[in-house]
């Protein structure tokens, strides 16, 4: 077996040792680099259609190609980037460490989920490549990421392949969710009670519940769609007695909770960053913890707000509208608690904190504009305009992706053992913040003025807005490239990072080496204070160290 007390990156060598590893840290890293690769791909598609939208006329690519671009941007960013970003990439690395566990509960299933992810991703990318090279062969995927019928039920075979890819990716998500739930329940270190868990864990727990509960419904929906295409089963086809709106119900029953699969992990990272870089006990711990669960529960009963103009009954729309407003409460609780945490804290504006502040501003804008869309009367006007596009980019990208990148910068020293150039990191956060607002703030304006989303050509009235938005997209590119450069540079310069550079109090910083050893901890960590008790003296104890002192740990019946 060898020595488990060596650095996990050097414990075993060679490509094969990575491909067959069951170490959650290595699996997390492989997820991370896969996700970053797909982030680049999805970003390239976004830049391509932003370039097309620079002028009112359709002149750079054909209309069909444009449809493919925005579909692929959506599918890649949702299924291959945002959903796995924090849970599968950062969560896999951090969660067992924060729990004081040697690994997740089912390490082999964890590896399986990575392979399923790769298979699904390969199918998605394969469909893109084949469809682009020769559209006559399998057709293109031009349905938008939502696969609405009838666009999707009488498309080419490419749609079938893409749907199958999303179906397969769902299983990867389910496995990760199951694994995390069991790990959180069963593998906590002695003394790590539920209310001593870092809030990262609480939010990931809520996310996992949604992943396990909602993804199967997406699975069966996509399966029905595949059957619709392959054997013409007619469930969504009005010619055969079916109902196309039923697809929307099924789809959003998954996909509305899924947007909380996307945002809750962002909130998970946010709680860690705000507390650590304010060096202050997180304000309202229990409220933040339970607000995650509240969001998870409410997320299941709001899906109808996507169908206000799909012929849903007025009564249903009113109920869904009301329930949608409820989401604002737990989200508001979180924002206020983070702000209150920063109040009179000793704030240090390190790179991860700047990304966290990006989240705070952008998510607040995204969340508040969500209320415009949840209101029936305004939604009729704003539905399917750029207002919607701007809203969900503020939430998904301004929310989740900002904390994802912030989380990468925060845990990077732990993952790799090296520190990065702080000035480059800060610069990237600021440039991304500027680029983001230039790109998307203007879209609220043009959406409110009536510019519909997904249009290839548009009237000249909107051209000035689109020019600004496209310029913003390229500023974003510069910002992300600087961030990538800072991280790559750190791997080349190899400046050793200390074990706990941020003076954090959660187990992954206090009880592990940088980078951690293969089995995470030397000795079994014991937790005797909460994760944000910055006022208490730092105590680093393990079962073994207590034993050596002659004060063995008293296990209580929990």
């Amino acid at each position: 077996m060898g020595d488990h007390n060596v650095n996990y990156l050097e414990a075993k060598k060679g490509l094969k040792s990575w491909l067959v590893t069951v170490d959650h840290k290595r699996i997390g890293l492989m997820y991370l680099f896969s996700v970053l690769f797909f982030f680049l791909a999805g970003g390239v598609f976004a830049l391509l259609f932003r370039a097309e939208l620079l002028t009112a006329k359709g002149d750079m690519v054909s209309a069909d190609t444009y449809n493919t671009f925005f579909t692929l941007h959506g599918v890649i960013m949702v299924f291959l980037v945002i959903i796995p970003s924090v849970p599968a990439a950062l969560g896999n690395f951090v969660l067992p460490l924060q729990l004081g566990a040697k690994d997740v509960a089912f390490p082999k299933l964890n590896l399986l989920s990575l392979y399923i992810f790769w298979i699904g991703a390969t199918m998605a990318l394969g469909t893109i490549i084949v469809g682009t090279l020769d559209p006559t062969l399998i057709g293109r995927v031009d349905t938008g990421w939502t696969f609405y019928t009838p666009y999707s039920s009488n498309g080419g075979t490419a749609v079938i392949w893409m749907t199958l890819a999303a179906f397969i990716l769902g299983f990867s998500s389910i496995l990760t969710g199951m694994n995390f739930i069991v790990t959180i329940h069963r593998l906590r270190a002695p003394g790590l009670t539920w209310f001593r868990l870092p809030l990262f864990i609480w939010a990931i727990y809520a996310t996992s519940i949604i992943q396990v509960m909602a993804t199967p419904v997406l699975g069966i929906t996509l399966l029905l769609l595949i059957m619709e295409n392959v054997v013409g089963i007619g469930i969504f086809n009005p010619n055969l007695g079916g109902d196309p709106v039923l697809f929307q119900h099924f789809f959003w029953f998954y996909s509305h909770p899924a947007v909380y699969i996307m945002i809750l992990p962002g909130m998970a990272v946010q709680s860690e960053l705000i507390a650590v870089f304010s060096q202050k006990k997180l304000f309202g711990y229990k409220y933040v913890a339970f607000s995650s669960l509240a969001i998870a529960i409410i997320s299941f009963i709001v899906w109808g707000h996507h169908m206000f103009v799909s012929g849903q009954s007025e009564l249903l729309s009113m109920i869904f509208s009301f329930l949608t407003f409820l989401v604002a409460i737990p989200s508001g609780v979180k924002i206020f608690n983070w702000v209150a945490t920063m109040y009179k804290g000793s704030i240090s504006l390190k790179t991860p904190m700047l990304w966290a502040l990006n989240f705070m501003f952008l998510f607040t804008i995204g969340g508040l504009t969500g209320l415009h869309l949840g209101t029936l009367s305004t939604d009729v006007h704003l539905h399917d305009t750029y207002f919607v596009v701007a809203h969900f980019h503020y939430v998904m990208m301004g929310g989740t992706l900002m904390t994802f990148v912030g989380g990468i910068f925060y845990w990077w020293p732990k993952m790799t053992g090296y520190t990065y150039n702080e000035n480059l990191g800060r610069a990237s956060a600021i440039i991304v913040f500027i680029g983001f607002n230039v790109t998307f703030l203007i879209q609220f304006v043009m959406g409110a003025q009536g510019m519909p989303r997904r249009y290839y050509q548009y009237i000249e009235q909107y051209e000035k807005f689109h020019v600004v938005s496209t310029i913003g997209a390229f500023i974003l590119l510069v910002g992300f490239l600087i961030a990538a450069f800072a991280l790559v540079q750190s791997l080349i310069q190899k400046n050793k990072a200390p074990d706990n550079p941020w003076k954090a109090r959660s187990l992954e910083w206090t009880h592990t080496a940088t980078p951690p050893v293969e089995h995470n901890f030397i000795g079994q960590p014991v937790v005797e204070y909460g994760p944000y008790d910055y006022d208490a003296p730092m105590v680093v104890e393990t079962l073994e160290s207590l034993e050596a002192k002659g004060q063995p740990y008293q296990f209580s019946e929990a």
């Binding site: 509960a105 199951m178 069991v182 396990v212 029905l224 089963i233 089995h519």
Partner: protein, 220 residues
């Protein structure tokens, strides 16, 4: 039922668990979560069933006469029996009756096989007379009050029973693996976790059929 905690014999403890109880409990918890996802997968189809039965009640009444109640009943009895035998196999492991673990597992797998044979006969009859889903439907239409929509029922019928059938086959594979392990003498009072988890899965497959049978075959 006990928790399967080792008292004697060798228990294969994985590296990342601190004790046997933690491993046994984690595995069981994981399985229950998995079963929840299975219920939700079928839940989508049950929703489709409810929506279309609500929209077209007469179709469901007319079309269900074309399902063979007798075959459905036999299959229900066969599956219920298999659920009993798989539970007895687990019991035999707990009491260390090695021979009976194998006998009960073999009986379970045979029952599953009978179920699939009967399902095959039902399916081939429907294929023969053209009671098929969606655009392939070509049975004589005068037998139905609303003939242009009747394929919806058969779409749902084939999807639900088809997905269930796939689960039966997966169950047969799973139980066969357990049989191989049992014949190597791996199971006993000290260790029967995988056997118990396969049993849980099998009970779920059985349970789903218990709902499918009345919903599809016994409509009034």
């Amino acid at each position: 039922m006990g928790t399967g905690i080792a008292t004697t014999g060798k228990f294969p403890l994985s590296h990342h668990f601190t004790n046997v109880e933690q491993q046994v409990e984690s595995n069981k918890f994981g399985m229950w979560l998995f079963l929840a996802t299975e219920v939700l997968i079928f839940g989508g189809l049950f929703c489709a069933y409810i929506v279309y039965r609500y929209l077209h009640p007469e179709i469901f009444v007319d079309a269900h006469h074309f399902l063979d109640k007798k075959m459905g009943l036999i299959n229900t009895i066969v599956l219920l029996t298999s659920s009993l035998t798989v539970a007895l196999a687990i019991r035999a492991a707990q009491t260390n009756e090695q021979k009976w673990i194998k006998i009960h597992l073999v009986t379970t797998i045979i029952c599953a096989g009978i179920f699939m044979c009967i399902k095959y006969m039902e399916y081939s009859h429907k294929f023969h007379v053209g009671l098929l889903p969606g655009e392939y439907f070509r049975a004589a239409s005068e037998q139905f009050r609303e003939p242009h929509n009747v394929q919806i029922f058969f779409g749902i019928y084939f999807l639900m029973t088809g997905l269930h059938g796939i689960h039966v086959v997966i169950g047969m594979v799973l139980l066969s693996v357990m049989l191989v392990k049992a014949s190597k003498g791996k199971f006993g009072p000290h260790y029967y976790g995988p056997l118990e988890l396969s049993g849980l899965y099998w009970h779920l497959v059985d349970l789903i059929w218990i709902f499918l049978f009345p919903l599809l075959y016994l409509i009034h």
